[in-house]
């Protein structure tokens, strides 16, 4: 799966699952509140029934002439009677409860009116401890439902997401195939052109048309570099790296010579400060791609007759230009493939993507500082 495809899929899944979760949580909360209310109502019905029973016993007591009147008691139910002014008369509560207290903590209350006032009682308060077992079962069922729904919607979301990103995947694959085919077809003619230019230069038959030949050489080298970049991107996953002890200083000098014609054509003044014998453990092709892309960008986006600084130290490789610069808002996305902050120059937007890949492969640190209209500084630190 492509990384952009994976990213889109993850984003889609996150939004989809978060919204589904919120919706289900809201629905479950409503259902839970309603079901809990219903369960408590069922338990309150028991209190109502008991209250009626106590009322009939109070009526019997009111008519009794016995010297001692036994207040009615019920199992698991507490009760108390209050007069018309809501003053406590008698009951099984240890403390005299406040009549207006309907619910509190784990106790369920029910107040029944008594008419006529047997034993002077106008109100009968009954109370019992709430049985939490059915409520706990309800909570468990809801959690189980949420969990099951979560799994179901995750699977559904994954397949839906794959379905949605499929067109994007197809487009990227088509583009990759196209690049692959194009690079393959470009290889032979570019090689032929470059070899022939080299032969003309070697056998000294070029004095008459030297400027035309220079332009052909620059164009061919640009084409050759694009070919190398595209091949590098295409083969990146299957490419077998040969990490060797590499003299970066020598390699950089070679690459500066390679780019000299391009820099010269643009009238750039190249300031070079290379520390001798900077040695790194690297694959040569990776190092070439890193150096070439940074230098070619600096030449391409530099202003005509500007200054190009190329610095190599034991700690870092720095290239500075005096070109158009990069807008601050584009700096965070400039490393993405096919991203081009400025379309004034040609290119595919793959240069910095390759630089980023090499930097990440070797654990280097890439820093890009830029001011729009003033220039850009790209620094690769060998150690993080």
């Amino acid at each position: 799966m492509l990384s952009s495809e994976k990213r889109s899929l993850i984003r889609f899944l996150l939004i989809y699952l978060a919204s589904t979760f919120l919706l289900f949580s809201f629905a479950s909360w409503i259902f839970y509140s309603s079901a809990k209310h219903h369960l408590l109502d069922q338990q309150r019905e028991t209190l109502k029934y008991e209250a009626e029973h106590i009322k009939s016993q109070l009526r019997a007591l009111h008519r009794s002439n016995a010297e001692v009147l036994y207040y009615p008691k019920s199992k698991n139910i507490r009760s108390a009677i209050y007069d018309l002014d809501k003053a406590y008369i008698f009951g099984t509560f240890k403390t005299k409860q406040i009549l207006d207290e309907h619910t509190g903590g784990n106790i369920l209350y029910y107040i029944a009116k008594i008419e006529p006032y047997y034993l002077g009682a106008a109100y009968l308060l009954t109370a019992k401890e709430i049985d939490f077992k059915p409520i706990e079962n309800l909570q468990k069922n809801i959690l189980f439902f949420m969990f099951a729904a979560g799994i179901f919607f995750s699977i559904l979301g994954y397949f839906l997401g794959r379905l949605f990103v499929a067109p994007m995947r197809d487009s990227i694959e088509q583009m990759n195939h196209f690049i692959q085919d194009t690079t393959h077809e470009l290889n032979t003619p570019i090689s032929t052109i470059l070899t022939n230019i080299e032969m003309i230069e070697t056998f000294g038959k070029h004095e008459e048309n030297s400027s035309e030949l220079k332009r052909i050489e620059i164009a061919s080298k640009t084409l050759s570099r694009i070919y190398d970049d595209l091949t590098y991107l295409n083969l990146n996953h299957h490419y077998h790296r040969r990490v060797i002890t590499l003299n970066i200083s020598d390699l950089l000098k070679e690459r500066i010579v390679y780019f000299s014609a391009m820099a010269e054509a643009k009238g750039l003044k190249v300031t070079i400060d290379i520390t001798q014998d900077v040695i790194l453990q690297m694959d040569k092709n990776d190092a070439v791609r890193l150096i070439d892309n940074i230098i070619s960008n600096a030449i391409k986006y530099n202003k005509p007759k500007g200054i190009l600084y190329i610095i190599l130290t034991n700690d870092a490789f720095i290239v500075k230009d005096e070109g158009i610069g990069i807008r601050a808002k584009d700096l965070s996305t400039i490393l993405q493939r096919f991203k081009r902050a400025n379309k004034s120059e040609g290119g595919f937007g793959i240069g910095l993507d390759i630089v980023d890949q090499v930097v990440r492969n070797y654990g280097f640190d890439l820093q890009i500082k830029s001011q729009e209209g003033k220039g850009t500084e790209v620094m690769v630190k060998w150690e993080k």
């Binding site: 002439n65 036994y70 207040y71 008691k73 002014d85 008698f90 006032y117 034993l119 106008a122």
Partner: protein, 119 residues
């Protein structure tokens, strides 16, 4: 000092008890004896008041009003009762004493005293 306090307390208690006892005797003489002769159980009357008025204050107010101006509307008994028994005459007892009598009557028949919890 302690002895003086004890003696004073004892004397005031005796006086209070004596007063209560005198009041009870007066209620007995002025109210309950007559009810007994006419075979109208006082406890029954108390229960009827209790069933209608619920609190001691409300009962006191209703009994006072009836005793001062006896009529069918103020009576706790059903109107059929007065076909058998004559309407009693308005009391001549002064208000303060009457209130004390009523309070004593309510105290005597207070049903709360009879209520107990079954063990």
């Amino acid at each position: 000092m302690g002895k003086i306090v004890f003696i004073l307390s004892f004397m005031s208690l005796c006086l209070f008890a004596e007063e209560l006892s005198t009041q009870e005797q007066s209620v007995e003489q002025n109210c309950l004896n007559c009810h007994q002769q006419q075979q109208i159980p006082s406890s029954l009357i108390h229960r009827r008041y209790l069933m209608k008025y619920s609190t001691a204050k409300r009962m006191e107010k209703a009994i006072f009003a009836y005793l001062k101006h006896p009529d069918k509307a103020r009576s706790i008994m059903p109107s059929a009762f007065f076909s058998k028994f004559p309407m009693k005459e308005a009391t001549t007892v002064d208000d303060s004493t009457l209130r004390k009598y009523i309070q004593n009557y309510l105290e005597t028949f207070d049903i709360k005293k009879k209520l107990v919890l079954e063990k």
